[in-house]
């Protein structure tokens, strides 16, 4: 029995539920209706210990499950012929490993950060649950199981967005819910069609579409697949269902926005990969209007996202638009349906996850230490917190794609994939848009570094004067996770070969 691979799913979910339940129980004991009591330092310590232990154990289990060969387990039959089925394959491995690492690192960061947001216990409760659900999503072995956990992820990650309970946060969370659900329904109806025309909904590299059945129903299948692309694209911030991202990120606590845009947006990518390469099969889409429309949408999103980010003064919102743009890089890489493009896309999944988390953690440090959210307030900030800003700079360079950082590698593959794939005019337009967008990325990320280090004249930082201290550097607990992620962003670019081999192996297996 391979049922133990479900441990990294069950353990964090259970642990999270226990946290939430004990919270409710505490409230009752203190006489419900009273405002939440702030936990003492002692309590916080044990809470952090608990969360770290659970996460570490589950991450270890997840890694073990991912690295120890093929596993599969059928939980129970949801309906006749539709089991809840888990299977660990290469894509699962990639996502599970990276998500585990990032999730753990961000957790350590949030131990300090969440002190000023309050209601830590609730946050960690949901944080753990979402981790479990994400693992289930990565390990899901058929389309219906994936859909199941996709929806559950939407629901359980919503509390992370509405954490501070303000009106904006709640509206943003509901917007997130609404967009995700509408998107997921489009996906669901695609699943209904695929159920008929595919041999099986179990993920199989290269697709399971039955050509005999599909004959004569091509149009309707294409429409269904396009619906799925748009629907699951909602989570990945693809046009036209991208609007929840810029709304949700600024209001969520920084660790939450880090994982939202770093990890959860990737769940949409994962879903699209599963649909296109593991159920429908890339050959079916190649050269159809769906591919054209998909490429157009992704390129539009790439460009639009960068433009919006460029014009956006609120830092976290700027990063959110940047996510919109960068995730569509990945989708573009997938949409050209060539092995090289897909390699680039998978690389960019990993790199963007690391980089975007690093950037959001920086934004969090700025908020935590100075309480500043707007870009123009960051002038001269490099004098007070040089280490943070250096980390930020490295991550930015990686996102822009300056060699030898990681972003360069993935973008190189993306552009090459587009050129090679034989997609006509998109072979030229695609790389051009990517290039323009990279310039825009530089335009919206680097000014913070330059004006931070070289404010032009002496700018006394208000906060620094208050504190009578020119050093605003955060504590090590916050700095180290950031540094790890920034270092990863660079190092993965310096030694990309194992990852490239792994990604191209996946790409070769499905095409």
């Amino acid at each position: 029995m391979d049922a133990w691979i479900l441990l990294p799913v069950i353990l964090p979910v259970l642990a999270g539920v226990i946290l939430l339940l004990s919270l409710a129980f505490d409230k009752k004991k203190n006489g419900g209706g009273q405002p939440d009591r702030e936990p003492g330092a002692e309590e916080l310590h044990s809470l952090h210990g608990y969360v770290a232990a659970v996460l570490a154990v589950s991450a270890a289990l997840a890694l073990a499950a991912a690295l120890s060969g093929e596993h599969s387990v059928t939980l129970f039959e949801l309906l006749k012929g539709i089991p809840v089925y888990f299977h660990v394959d290469d894509i699962s491995r990639l996502f599970a490993i990276v998500i585990s690492i990032v999730w753990l690192v961000v957790a350590f960061y949030s131990f300090v950060y969440m002190k000023h947001e309050g209601k830590e216990q609730r946050f960690y409760g949901f944080y753990l649950i979402v981790y479990g659900v994400l693992m289930a999503l990565s390990f899901a072995g058929n389309l219906v199981t994936m859909y199941l956990f996709y929806e559950i992820m939407t629901l359980t990650s919503m509390p992370l967005v509405l954490h501070n309970g303000s009106r904006e946060a709640i509206m943003a969370a509901l917007k997130y819910l609404f967009y995700s659900m509408c998107g997921a329904y489009l996906g669901l109806f695609g699943i209904f069609f695929l159920y008929k025309y595919c041999d099986t909904l179990t993920f199989t590299a290269g697709g399971t579409l039955n050509p005999g059945l599909a004959q004569g129903n091509v149009t309707i299948l294409l429409i269904a697949v396009f619906g799925m692309l748009v629907g699951f694209g909602a989570k990945a911030g693809m046009l036209p269902l991208h609007a929840w991202l810029p709304a949700a990120h600024p209001v969520a606590p920084s660790p939450a926005s880090a994982v939202l845009s770093g990890v959860i947006a990737k769940a949409g990518v994962l879903a699209i990969i599963r649909v296109v390469f593991y159920v429908v099969g890339p050959d079916f889409l190649r050269g159809t209007w769906v591919q054209t429309a998909w490429m157009t949408l992704t390129l539009l999103t790439v460009f639009m996202g960068s433009m919006m980010a460029f014009r956006e003064p609120v830092f976290k919102k700027r990063l959110a638009y940047s996510t919109v743009s960068q995730v569509s890089y990945i989708l573009f890489g997938l949409s050209v349906l060539s092995p090289v493009g897909m390699t680039g896309a998978l690389l960019h999944v990993v790199f963007h996850m690391v980089i975007k988390c690093a950037l959001f953690l920086t934004a969090g440090i700025f908020i935590f230490q100075c309480g500043e959210t707007r870009v123009e307030q960051f002038r001269g900030i490099g004098k007070q917190m040089p280490k943070t800003l250096w980390c930020y700079t490295f991550a930015s360079l990686a996102l822009i794609g300056i060699p030898p950082t990681s972003g360069f590698v993935s973008k190189w593959y993306l552009a090459q994939g587009a050129l090679e794939a034989g997609v006509g005019v998109f072979g030229i337009v695609g790389p051009a848009v990517l290039l323009v967008s990279a310039l825009l990325t530089a335009g919206y990320l680097l000014p913070i570094t330059t004006s931070g280090f070289f404010p032009g004249g002496i700018v006394k930082h208000v906060k620094a004067e208050e504190k009578q201290d020119s050093n605003l550097e955060p504590s090590l607990e916050m700095l180290i996770p950031l540094a790890i992620l920034a270092a990863l962003a660079v190092l993965l670019g310096l030694f990309p070969n194992p990852l490239i081999n792994f990604a191209s192996r996946i790409a070769a297996s499905v095409m």
């Binding site: 419900g32 209706g33 129970f76 039959e77 949801l78 309906l79 006749k80 539709i82 219906v144 859909y147 199941l148 929806e151 559950i152 629901l155 309970g165 009106r167 709640i170 509206m171 509901l174 819910l177 609404f178 659900m181 509408c182 329904y185 669901l188 109806f189 209904f192 069609f193 159920y195 008929k196 309707i220």
Partner: protein, 503 residues
């Protein structure tokens, strides 16, 4: 013969006679008797279910020991027992959940009369489920109508009386058609017992005699029952009846009464006519068309509605459209999907009604949409329950609605092309529309309200301790819903087994 086999007969008689009993005792005692009767009937149905699953076949129970063509019969299989058990559970929870409203909205000296009606309703539902005699079915259809009418008008205001009148008129039109159809069948076959009619109908069908008459008969009965179960466009009475009657009435009416008629229709299709003949008669195509239109139009009306209870009522119109759409697909898979949806909708709709009342309790009894702002914080459990119900309605995985959507879609994709497309498109459009109005409401009840506004209007917080009965009912409903959503496989298996031994 084993003793358990008497239970269906006992449960009908028990609920039938407890009705008149309630009319001579006080309200409080009547309430207790009612709950006890529902529990006992539920327990008996459960043991019958157990018995039929074990024996693996349906059995016939002779009333008064007269054999087949003369006597009156009860026929019990897995499907019947399952439905009876489920109806009892939903009715029990609805009665418990609505006890607070009943105390407020029903005059004290009339309270026992309410339980007369509920007991009669239960007995007529059970009779509709179990009987094997077409004319008995007709009589209990009328009893069902009368007691449902009583449930609507027990809360005395202009709206409910008007709604009851409209309900009666539509119902009488429907039962007139049904009765005429039954008379035609009797005329053609000379039998009233369903199984005997079917034999004769098969012969008639094979020889080709009375072809048109048979067609007319099937359509008369289908249309009659469609009218009674508020298939679009015969739904005009429904929003008022569900929207303004007392809570337990609304929950029972929406989740059980219309379902009883629909179950009778399934019975007519399978046991009286034979499903292949029905399918060949093209009647199903008409039901399909009306079902599809109902799915869309019900949702559209719900979107336009500003009163939360009427909105939920309109959503029933859409859901009944789903059920008829399933019949209309004309395959066994479609019928199973519809049967599952009967269960799922019964569990969800009564949950929604009870939750909505919890929400309005926290909003100064106002059902208007804008007054509900932030009600999810003032009554936490009701907010959560309403969210669960909404998610189930829009087909969120883990909840029952998802499974019925899945079953409908499976049935649709396996059917003929000209039905697959409309069915799937209607499913998609209706799901999106459902999402629009249910999520709109969820967003509304979780939008933080102005503190001063709350103070000024005097909205109070409602905790679980204030409304123990309602909270317990809500929790049970949520569990029921999730159980249906997660452990659907055994339920679907029971349904399909039951359908096999049904004919």
């Amino acid at each position: 013969m084993e003793f358990v086999q008497n239970f269906p007969f006992f449960s009908i008689l028990l609920s039938l006679f407890s009705g008149p009993l309630c009319s001579v005792i006080g309200g409080k005692a009547a309430r207790r008797i009612n709950l006890v009767v529902i529990t006992v009937v539920g327990a008996m149905s459960a043991s019958v279910l157990h018995f039929t699953i074990r024996s693996g076949e349906a059995y016939v129970y002779l009333m008064g020991h007269f054999p087949a063509p003369w006597g009156n019969e009860i026929r019990v299989g897995v499907l019947e027992a399952l439905m009876a058990l489920f109806f009892c559970v939903v009715m029990f929870l609805s009665m418990v959940g609505g006890s607070l409203e009943r105390a407020l909205e029903i005059e004290a000296e009339k309270e026992n009369l309410y339980y007369v009606m509920v007991n009669l309703l239960l007995s007529s539902l059970l009779a509709l489920i179990y009987t094997n005699d077409l004319f008995t079915a007709y009589v209990f259809v009328e009893i069902n109508t009368i007691s449902a009418c009583g449930l609507i008008m027990i809360r005395q205001n202009g709206r409910t009386i008007e709604a009851a009148t409209r309900y009666m008129i539509m119902s009488l039109l429907g039962s007139g058609l049904l009765l005429l159809g039954i008379c035609f069948l009797y005329d053609m076959t000379g039998h009233l017992l369903m199984s005997n009619i079917k034999e004769q109908v098969q012969i008639l069908h094979a020889t080709g005699d009375y072809h048109i008459s048979l067609l007319v008969t099937v359509s008369l009965m289908s249309v009659g029952i469609a009218i009674k179960s508020a298939l679009y466009p015969f739904h005009a009475w429904l929003p008022d009846a569900y929207g303004y009657s007392t809570l337990s009435s609304a929950a029972i009416l929406s989740s059980l009464v219309s379902k009883g008629y629909i179950f009778l229709l399934v019975k007519i299709f399978y046991r009286v006519i034979g499903f292949d003949i029905v399918r060949d008669s093209k009647i199903v195509n008409i039901l399909f068309a009306f079902g599809v239109v109902g799915m869309i139009m019900g949702s559209v009306s719900a979107i336009k509605e500003g009163n939360i209870r009427r909105m939920i009522a309109y959503s029933s119109v859409a859901q009944i459209g789903y059920i008829y759409m399933g019949f209309g697909i004309g395959t066994t898979a479609g019928v199973i999907a519809s049967l599952y949806h009967i269960l799922s909708h019964a569990a969800t709709k009564s949950l929604l009604f009870v939750a909505a009342s919890g929400i309005t309790d926290a909003s100064g009894e106002s059902t208007s949409f804008f007054d509900l702002t932030g009600a999810g914080y003032r009554n936490k459990l009701a907010g959560v329950a309403f969210t669960v119900g909404s998610l189930s309605m829009v087909g969120f995985p883990m909840f029952s609605g998802f499974i019925s959507k899945l079953l409908f879609a499976q049935a649709a994709v396996d059917s003929a092309y000209y039905k697959m497309l409309p069915a799937l498109i209607a499913l998609a459009v209706s799901t999106i529309l459902n999402a629009v109005y249910f999520m709109k409401t969820v967003i509304r009840i979780y939008t933080p309200a102005d503190r001063e506004e709350i103070q000024r209007r005097g909205f109070r917080n409602v905790t679980m301790a204030d409304q123990k009965a309602k909270s317990a009912a809500l929790v049970c409903f949520i569990i029921l819903n999730m159980a249906l959503g997660l452990c659907s496989e055994p339920v679907v298996r029971l349904l399909s087994e039951g359908l096999q031994m049904f004919a």
